[in-house]
């Protein structure tokens, strides 16, 4: 569950938490696009470092590290698969360039995880819903999304209780071969799914009894407004996209192996 921990929002106040979620989301998209544009390690490293000030300003280093640790397994996997594929396709030789490109692919993944984790760590589910709504996403969808996010920790806790209950009936999750182990999770997954469905039905009834969808146009207690910081981040976003596209189109991006061996 450590990956989820890295995405769990905790209410604190910092300049980053107070930014408009829409601008923060644009930032995530910009980083996403930039990370896809470059396959070389240097620009990806720059992107990785760029999010660090956000993490420090928001004071979420610990949670951020935890989300990276959660991604470590998948990152290692990506690295190994990349190495292996270049190893087998290039006639069983391992070059510095292929190691570097595998590292770059891994870094690309890490950058994506990093930017998403910063976004979710510093944006409350309520803010997110508000942002979706004010971006003209239909309220039904916005609500479904925020509810889903909010129920992740609830489900994680429930999964723990279910595992305890089944262990108390002699279930050993870590026993047997890989197939047996997967099958071991059936007694955990079924109650989890059943209770999630039951819970959603109950939630729907509770919502309807509180006049869900009574009027076409809802009013909000809070409204999102752009402040100075939001404009600043927006400018950063625009500049970042412009620089990324310019560099990609007109400048050669050296790889490390080219820098050091040529």
């Amino acid at each position: 569950m450590s990956v989820f921990d890295g995405l769990k929002f905790r209410k604190v106040y910092s300049p980053i938490h107070n930014l408009d979620p829409r601008v923060k989301f644009i930032y995530v998209c910009v980083v996403f696009v930039a990370a896809i544009l470059f396959g070389e390690i240097l620009p990806l490293l720059a992107l990785f470092l760029m999010s660090l000030p956000f993490v420090l300003l928001a004071g979420v280093q610990k949670e951020w590290l935890r989300s990276l640790r959660g991604a470590a397994f998948l990152a290692t996997f990506i690295f190994l698969v990349n190495i292996a594929s270049s190893f087998f396709t290039s006639g069983y030789v391992l070059t510095a360039a292929s190691v570097e490109s595998a590292a770059a692919m891994t870094l690309r993944f890490v950058v994506l995880v990093e930017s998403f984790s910063v976004f979710f760590l510093t944006t409350s589910p309520d803010h997110l819903g508000l942002a979706l709504e004010q971006s003209r996403v239909p309220y039904e969808f916005a609500f479904a999304f925020t509810t889903a996010v909010r129920f992740v920790p609830v489900l994680a806790e429930e999964a723990q209780t279910i595992m305890d209950a089944q262990k108390a009936r002699g279930l050993e999750l870590e026993k047997g071969g890989i197939l047996k182990r997967i099958r071991n999770y059936v007694p955990v997954l079924i109650p989890l799914i059943v209770s999630a469905i039951r819970r959603s039905l109950e939630l729907a009834e509770a919502m309807e009894s509180r006049a869900w969808g009574a009027t076409k146009k809802r009013t909000n207690l809070y409204a999102l407004k752009f402040h100075r910081g939001d404009f600043a981040l927006l400018a950063v976003n625009v500049a970042l996209v412009a620089v990324a596209i310019y560099v990609r189109l007109y400048l050669p991006v050296p790889t490390l192996s080219q820098l050091f061996w040529v």
């Binding site: 279910i162 262990k167 108390a168 009936r169 109650p191 059943v194 209770s195």
Partner: protein, 274 residues
């Protein structure tokens, strides 16, 4: 026998759920653990089958430290019925649900069949043998969960909030069932808020507050001492409340059982008439 020595337990989110808890539960005892929400009741009993291991201190079950064995091994002797049956029901039929634990513990096919019939009969579920547990009512699901644990005949039975969602008649059946378990020499441990239920069973009562055991003794004594109950925000049982007021008439204060109360009131009234 369950021995708990100076146990502290801290959850990963740094909540201190148990503080310096020590106690001994002997074989064949009937214990009710009471206290407010968050007092540490469920955390304590989860130590008895190894689901939780103490952060500090030692828990021994029949002489074996819980840290040195597995939950599955401990569960063979210590059955734990969770509060919410929906946290464990997953099979297509009630029969398979009960067979689950028996298969996990490696019982033979024929023994499994016998045990299922025995457990179903014990809890009045025989007619639901082929029914899906999801189609049963809340109270019935609770009984299926109980049957699924009883099936392997554990020596100790832990029931977490067994009376929640049960009507009076079911509670009475549950009480009789516990008496029956007692007669077979089993240890029964219940975690509950239900003062009236405990009053009618009169077990040994452990009162918890903020992770500590604040009172430990006969139910009849603890449940009739308002000062002790007040620290755990528990209200006196109704019978005890009445007998507090009747004390000036020469009746004893420590009565909690309905049957006993009835006898006493009748006797006093009889005397007065003469």
């Amino acid at each position: 026998m369950i021995e708990v020595e100076d146990v502290n337990f801290v959850y990963p989110n740094r909540v201190e759920a148990l503080r310096d808890v020590s106690l001994v539960i002997k074989d064949g005892e009937f214990v009710a653990i009471m206290g407010q929400n968050g007092a540490g009741k469920t955390t304590l009993v989860k130590h008895f089958n190894g689901l939780l291991k103490p952060s500090k201190g030692v828990v021994r079950v029949d002489g074996v430290e819980t840290t040195k064995t597995s939950v599955a091994a401990l569960s063979r002797n210590t059955g734990f019925v969770f509060q919410n049956p929906d946290n464990q029901l997953f099979s297509e039929t009630v029969e398979e649900e009960i067979a689950f634990a028996l298969k996990n513990f490696g019982f033979e096919e024929e023994v499994i069949k016998k045990r299922i019939s025995w457990a179903l009969n014990l809890l009045g579920l025989t007619q639901y043998r082929e029914t899906s547990p999801f189609l049963l009512s809340g109270g019935e699901r609770k009984r299926v969960a109980l049957a699924s644990v009883l099936s392997w005949n554990p020596k100790t039975l832990i029931l977490d909030e067994p009376t929640i969602g049960q009507d009076y008649q079911q509670k009475e059946k549950l009480r009789q069932f516990i008496v029956q378990m007692q007669a077979q020499g089993k240890t029964v441990i219940i975690v509950t808020h239900d003062v009236e239920f405990v009053a009618e069973c009169s077990p040994r009562v452990l009162l918890m507050k903020e992770g500590r055991i604040v009172a430990d003794g006969e139910g009849r004594e603890i449940l009739t001492t308002p000062e002790v109950l007040a620290q755990s925000s528990i209200v006196l049982p109704q019978i005890a409340q009445i007998f507090m007021k009747l004390a000036p008439l020469g009746l004893p204060k420590n009565v909690i059982d309905v049957y006993e109360a009835k006898e006493m009131v009748l006797k006093t009234l009889e005397k007065r008439r003469k």
